[in-house]
């Protein structure tokens, strides 16, 4: 479906507002919108809300044989999807330019930054390594998908617990998670030149500068698109602002992780259901409606009397073989050996008799 076109007056107004250093929703020029990070019940599931932009990320892992060229390294696989519920402009199964750009940028930021040590993902060199799969879904588009996606991916990776592996000779047994931990360094993408644009501001932009950086002020990647000419000091200024923002966001992520860990340890409730506020828009009040109550007692006692006529049949244990006894079976035992088949029909008849009785009563 086509998105509503941007009218000329909107474009002019937005540009004028940006020149006058005014944002549409009253923020300061370099302010981010409210970031909310919530974790789900499973490890590695994270939802990030950047204003109205919502992104969900899930991290999972499985054991696979490694690539031939790198037998001692694990594999990381990134996938970002634009769901049609995010915006009427997103159509399912359409490879749009935006999707490719986002995917590429996310992959570059997380893979090349080595935020996860791929050597540590190796279990048996040359045979079994962990493949970590990061799936990001965009649930609502209101500008600045890149930042939201990278925050979600990094938070989910930090939250994820890889199962522990015990190796005994050739056998590999996987122990359930909650034991192993992984601490990637946090890299976050910040988009420019207008910090954190909302959807309409994004449409007016001519170009985009994305800086991926971590809190130690190490830049992982810079990408400039749109063909705008940037001066050297503009780029430097952007990177300074980025470092400030990155430290703030890293704080936020760490706090959210801490909270989640605390709640899980205390045994309290965690997950998405707890973090979503219950909102009720309307409640309808109706007057009490009269209900026919005259015959209720009689019909109820009737039903009770009728059900009492059957006796409970407790199936007695049948000795199948020495040391093995069977107590009641509802379905044909497909494990039965040839000797038991003679007994089967007799026991079945008895059982079916009682079964049909019970059914009859329930219908009544």
């Amino acid at each position: 479906m086509r998105d509503t076109p941007l009218s000329n007056c909107e474009r002019l107004f937005l540009l004028k507002a940006i020149e006058a250093k005014k944002r549409l929703d009253g923020r300061q020029t370099y302010d981010y919108r409210n970031i909310k990070i919530t974790f789900g019940t499973d490890y590695g599931c994270c939802s990030v809300e950047l204003g109205k932009t919502r992104v969900l990320c899930q991290v999972s892992c499985e054991l696979v044989p490694p690539k031939d060229s790198r037998p001692t390294e694990g594999i990381m696989f990134f996938n970002l999807e634009l769901s049609p519920m995010a915006s009427p402009a997103f159509e399912p199964n359409r490879q749009s330019e935006l999707l490719v750009t986002l995917n590429r940028q996310l992959e570059r930021c997380l893979r090349n930054s080595k935020c996860i040590d791929t050597e540590s993902l190796c279990v048996v060199s040359g045979e079994k390594v962990w493949q970590i799969r990061v799936d990001v879904h965009v649930l609502n588009q209101d500008g600045n998908l890149m930042d939201a996606a990278s925050i979600a991916a990094i938070s989910a990776l930090s939250h994820f617990r890889r199962p522990d592996v015990a190796i005994q000779g050739q056998d590999v047994t996987v122990v359930s998670p909650e034991t192993a931990e992984k601490r990637p360094r946090l890299f976050i993408c910040i988009s420019y030149l207008l910090v954190d644009p909302c959807e309409r501001e994004e449409r007016v932009k001519d170009g985009l500068l994305v800086i991926a950086m971590n809190k130690h002020r190490e830049i992982c990647s810079i990408q400039s698109s749109g063909g705008i000419m940037l001066l050297k000091d503009q780029v430097l200024r952007c990177s300074k602002i980025a470092s400030v923002k990155v430290s703030e966001i890293t704080e936020l992520i760490n706090k959210a992780l801490e909270n989640d860990r605390k709640i899980r340890k205390e045994g309290g409730k965690f997950g998405f259901a707890e973090s979503m506020p219950k909102e009720r828009i309307t409640t309808l009040k109706r007057d009490d409606a009269p209900v026919e109550m005259t015959d209720v007692k009689e019909t109820a006692s009737d039903i009770v009397n009728r059900t009492e006529t059957t006796t409970e049949v407790v199936p007695s244990p049948v000795l199948v073989a020495m040391g093995t006894a069977q107590v009641g079976e509802g379905i044909v035992n497909s494990w039965a050996l040839d000797e038991d088949e003679e007994d089967e029909p007799q026991t079945e008849d008895r059982k079916t008799g009682t079964v049909s009785d019970v059914c009859f009563c329930a219908v009544e």
Partner: protein, 245 residues
């Protein structure tokens, strides 16, 4: 037939759901004479033989003498004949402009449907401009058609507008409240500072004030006062008025 009015009257102000039925029983009137009364079913009500069915969820409203309709919350606009809307011109093809009004199809606007337009004297309309027009044809079988003149041939406020100012989208319920004759929201807003306002029934509102900051304030106020009671709204407006002075 007072029975119809009685049927409706007891439900005025109540929340109704699609599928609720008002059946008109003719046998009630003992005497042979059947007085035929006209009842106008507004949006959300539909006549189905001898019954009137509710097809949208909302509150039943009544206007004298005989108009009933369902007041519902909706953001998606469905073009209806006679309504004035704000559209965005998306394409110019031959003799007509294609205008996006927020419905499922784009409406067409002939270039002769402007005041003082002739074949030689074409109106100055570019792609991306805002137009305020009325629907002459708007049903589910055909592409809707807009015009920017009324039946006498005068513009009457319609046409291209908005070189400045900001366009934004609100829900249809708020738009109807703004367009009501004695709208409290407008009266409260007027007290803060002067501004120009164009309201389209498709949920689009255009605002222009003297400064960029004031325009943004009005925009944000209108977007937030949708779910507020009048008390909350008045306190909010008062706070803004004191802050801006």
């Amino acid at each position: 037939m007072d029975t119809i009015h009685a049927c409706f009257k007891e439900k005025i102000g109540e929340v109704l759901l699609p599928g609720d039925v008002f059946s008109i029983r003719l046998s009630e009137s003992g005497d042979g004479s059947i007085k035929t009364e006209k009842i106008i079913c507004g949006p959300g009500l539909r006549r189905n033989g001898e019954e009137v069915q509710v097809c949208k969820s909302g509150i039943l409203r009544h206007k004298q003498p005989n108009m009933y309709w369902i007041d519902s919350q909706q953001r998606r606009y469905v073009p209806a004949k006679g309504e004035s809307v704000i559209g965005i011109v998306t394409a110019k093809s031959g003799d007509i402009f294609k205008v996006d009004v927020g419905g499922s199809e784009q409406a067409s606007l002939s270039y002769l449907a402007f005041e003082g337009a002739t074949k030689r004297n074409r109106p100055n309309v570019q792609v991306g401009d805002l137009v305020y027009g009325q629907f002459t044809i708007a049903n589910k079988d055909m592409e809707p058609e807009l015009v920017c003149i009324d039946s006498c041939g005068r513009a009457n406020g319609m046409g291209v507008f908005g070189a400045d100012g900001l366009l934004f989208k609100v829900s249809l319920g708020l738009v109807r409240r703004l367009l009501a004759p004695q709208s409290e929201i407008i009266k409260d807003l007027e007290k803060i500072f002067p501004f120009e306002l164009v309201v389209g029934m498709n949920g689009r509102v255009w605002v222009k004030a003297k400064a960029v900051q004031q325009t943004l304030i009005v925009t944000n106020l209108l977007e937030t006062c949708e779910n507020m009671t009048s008390q909350q709204r008045q306190t909010l407006f008062k706070r803004v008025a004191e802050g801006s002075l």
